[in-house]
């Protein structure tokens, strides 16, 4: 793939330097058959350094995951080689199926089929609480 030219796909831009691999992993991009490019530590006027992910296919994209990991990222949608949409993300109110509750007493630990749901507790500190047991999940957890 020529990483500068995408016909149909996404450019996830303005990812904080070092954050691209986490987004790649959480989105499950390793399972895609299409071309995916990760550009690390690209020069940026605004951010100094940034990461970029380019995906060469219009897959269903879970914006909640991207916004949870990096609410400062922008998601550009490319169709027929043209930019048709540019989304600035915000911190999500709910995160489903991304985080795992660390509380050994939480019902999600014994009933594994229950979907993990976290609700935003503190937007500034980026803390979420488990919907079931209220345990706080911090970004560093």
């Amino acid at each position: 793939m020529n990483i500068n030219e995408i016909q149909d796909g996404y450019v996830i831009d303005h990812i904080h330097a070092g954050g691209a691999m986490r987004i790649y992993r959480y989105l499950g991009l390793d399972k895609l058959d299409c071309s995916v490019a990760i550009i690390k530590n690209a020069k940026s006027e605004r951010m100094g350094r940034k990461d970029i992910i380019k995906i060469d296919e219009l897959i269903p994209l879970n914006l909640e995951i991207i916004s949870y990991i990096d609410a400062g990222a922008t998601v550009n949608t490319i169709k027929d080689g043209k930019l048709i949409d540019k989304q600035h993300l915000t911190v999500p109110q709910r995160v489903v199926g991304v985080l795992k509750c660390k509380n050994p007493r939480c019902i999600t630990q014994t009933e594994q089929e229950i979907q993990q749901v976290f609700v935003l507790a503190d937007a500034e500190k980026k803390q979420y609480r488990c919907y079931y047991c209220d345990t706080i999940h911090k970004p560093e957890d």
């Binding site: 007493r105 019902i107 630990q109 803390q127 919907y131 209220d134």
Partner: protein, 304 residues
């Protein structure tokens, strides 16, 4: 559908209305003797409990209804590996309302997501115990005559003590409430609760010695250090007797102090305190039954 999972899901007006109903049941029990005729309450107790289960059953019987259920997970299909979701979907076909106690935190929330009938959280791990809080609220209102301008001391296991968490969440919404949190360092309130109190702007102090603060309190809420919440027996043994309330300790306390305890106690309140007029923990038990009656009535009415 309305459930009782966490006390903060209910507004102060709704809690006041439940207390009004409980007061009315106390004053006119005969008026409610057939209120739940032909209705069934299922008590699904995955974890042993005597008083809470019996309180629910007594409440339903006094309302003219009937009860069914299990008192131990090993005596149910849970022992075969059935999920909470499947259990409540099944039991919801037999009963009109379900009271659930579970050792896992959040289990009643899962139940409410799948149940065709109202769910009452009768205690989930160290998380919430809202119907104990209903008992506590009625005790406070009847004993103090007000729900505001109170200094409330909470003493003992504040980390795993779910009754403490629910009571703090409920009382924090009334005006001019201040909490004095007395516990060993290892058993302080969980972080989410501390953050919650801070965000609500509710003043609280955390101390280790009850003797230093007992004279400042309107209410003293004692709790048991619960063996079943510890993974490590040595930690339990080290902390279990951190606080023991005796008549001597009560000497500097106010004459109108209200001493409460969710029971059962082990030895955190000396039996010599029982005859002190400030000891209200057995009244709490009685008020709990009336509040459960009021709650059952409200939830069944809402489910119509």
């Amino acid at each position: 559908m309305r459930h009782m999972l966490d006390i903060i899901d209910w507004s102060l007006d709704e809690l006041d209305a439940l207390m009004d109903t409980a007061d009315d049941i106390i004053a006119h029990p005969d008026d409610y003797a057939d209120a739940c005729r032909r209705k069934k309450l299922a008590t699904l107790f995955y974890e042993p409990s005597t008083r809470t289960r019996l309180s629910f059953e007594a409440a339903m019987i006094e309302l003219g209804g009937q009860t069914l259920g299990f008192a131990d997970a090993s005596a149910s299909s849970v022992s075969k590996g059935e999920s909470v979701a499947d259990t409540v979907r099944t039991v919801g076909c037999y009963a009109d309302i379900i009271a659930m106690r579970h050792s896992k935190e959040g289990a009643p929330t899962v139940a409410a997501n799948f149940s065709p009938v109202p769910i009452i959280n009768a205690g989930d791990g160290g998380h919430h115990h809202p119907t104990q809080t209903l008992a506590d609220l009625l005790t406070i209102r009847r004993e103090k005559g007000r729900m505001n301008q109170l200094v409330i001391g909470l003493c003992g296991d504040l980390q795993f003590g779910r009754t403490v968490h629910s009571l703090m969440n409920a009382m924090a919404r009334y005006k001019s409430i201040r909490f004095v949190l007395v516990s060993p360092d290892e058993l302080r309130i969980p972080e989410y609760l501390r953050e919650g109190m801070k965000s609500l702007g509710v003043p609280f102090t955390e101390v280790e010695r009850l003797e230093d603060v007992i004279g400042t309190l309107d209410i003293l809420y004692m709790t048991r250090v619960q063996r079943e919440r510890f993974f490590n027996e040595a930690d339990y043994v080290r902390l279990k007797d951190s606080y023991i309330l005796t008549p001597a300790m009560l000497r500097p306390a106010r004459k109108d102090l209200t001493v409460m305890h969710p029971l059962p106690r082990v030895n955190e309140i000396s039996v010599a305190v029982d005859n002190d007029p400030r000891a209200c923990y057995f009244k709490q038990v009685l008020y709990g039954k009336y509040m459960r009656e009021a709650l059952i009535l409200k939830l069944l009415e809402a489910a119509k």
